[in-house]
Amino acid sequence: MTSILEFSNISRAYTRGVPVLDGVSFSVAPGEVVGLLGRNGSGKTTLIRIAKGMLYPHGGSVRVFGLSPTENPVAVKKRIGYVAEDQILPLRMTIAELVDFHRYLFPHWNDALQKQLMDRFGLHMNSKIKRLSKGEARQVALLCAVCHRPELLILDEPAGGLDPAARREFLETSVQLLNREGTTILFSSHHMTDVERIGGRVVLLDKGKVRLDHDVDRLREEICMATFQRESVPDGAAIERMRGCLGVRMVRDEWHAIFEGTAESVRRELQNEPGIHEVRCVSLPLEELFIELVGGDRPAELKEGVGVS
């Protein structure tokens, strides 16, 4: 199956020698919902901008619907819907004027969907953009992004700054679009429960690379955290060399190591390691996994000065 979106070995730096993205590769199949995760500054927005053709990658290539977004910007943008983080809508316009503007740009504008979303969000055509609340402005941005029935919807922190009810409404709308239009969605978010709800797959960016690319449904079953005492192994690097290790950090006097595999199989395997005696293995919710993988210091930086307990 051809992919909707394909990043191959993308790199990009804003300052020479300080890459924000450093060899990022993954692709998104039709109908998939991919949650793009990572700490602030991990390059999520940069990657999204590259997909949109708003930035050139310094290395590697991107294909959207099999096309280059910088060589075929119009052909690509026609088929994408995009809501940016803190999107700025023209304040002086009314919703009607903004919608007319979009309808003019996109020949396949769907009036029925537009009306349905206006009703659903409880918005009025003659409201001025500058009078809208943050949540309403986001709804207008979403409406403008989806009424031309894009094949690919890119949402950069769509729920950032929204209250829980508004966030849920945003998700409900996304789920309906998925159902009715079969849209492919790439969205970045810091709300892990939202990602667990609607994401089929997560891609976690860290230090310019893809740290984790996994099916959300299988995370609980195929990835676990093992904890064991600090003295059991000489250093973190020894743990990182073990099979299936995705990351390790020290928390107080214990190693927290993330492994691929079921809790049962990882525990069995670790107990065969010399030195390791008491191992506990648990599966983690996405939020905890995120923190374990990208939250703490890495062992290399931890070698000295760990005595804080």
């Binding site: 409900e172 159902n179 609607i198 609980r220 996405l286």
Partner: protein, 139 residues
């Protein structure tokens, strides 16, 4: 029937859905031939990805609990899968052993465990045999 999911729960979402449907079938709240909500209805109701619902249904179908009739919907199978009796008894005994040892370690006695089993039975079947404790259980 009502299905609830908790994204940060112990099980992944599709497993939560599978478990609730098999619980309902086991307790008779869903009967052979009953129609289930469509992928679309359930995903919109729960606000989760349609593919997650599809995955739960696919697995249940592979296990032989439900079947999809093209153009009509998804139904609880008329003939539910049965494991062979010896295996089933063995597995139940194993689970019973675990349940009892857990209860005894927690300082419970057999009557207390039996009471929990009865309460669970009412929960599963939705059939109050004794109305008083049922009321207490409803929050």
């Amino acid at each position: 029937m009502d299905i609830f999911v908790n994204p940060s729960g112990e099980l992944s979402l599709y497993r939560q859905i599978m478990r609730q449907i098999t619980d309902a079938i086991a307790g008779g709240r869903l009967k052979p031939g009953d129609k289930l909500a469509s992928h679309r209805e359930l995903s919109e109701h729960l606000v989760i990805a349609p593919l997650t619902v599809k995955k739960a249904y696919d697995e249940l179908e592979a296990l032989g609990y439900i079947e999809t009739q093209r153009g009509r919907g998804t139904f609880v199978c008329a003939r539910l899968p049965r494991t062979n009796r010896a295996d089933r008894d063995e597995q139940l005994r194993e689970n019973a052993r675990r349940l009892l040892s857990q209860a005894y370690l927690a300082g419970l006695q057999l009557p207390a465990v039996l009471k929990i089993l009865e309460e669970t039975d009412r929960e599963l079947t939705g059939n109050p045999t004794d109305p008083a404790p049922q009321d207490q259980k409803k929050r």
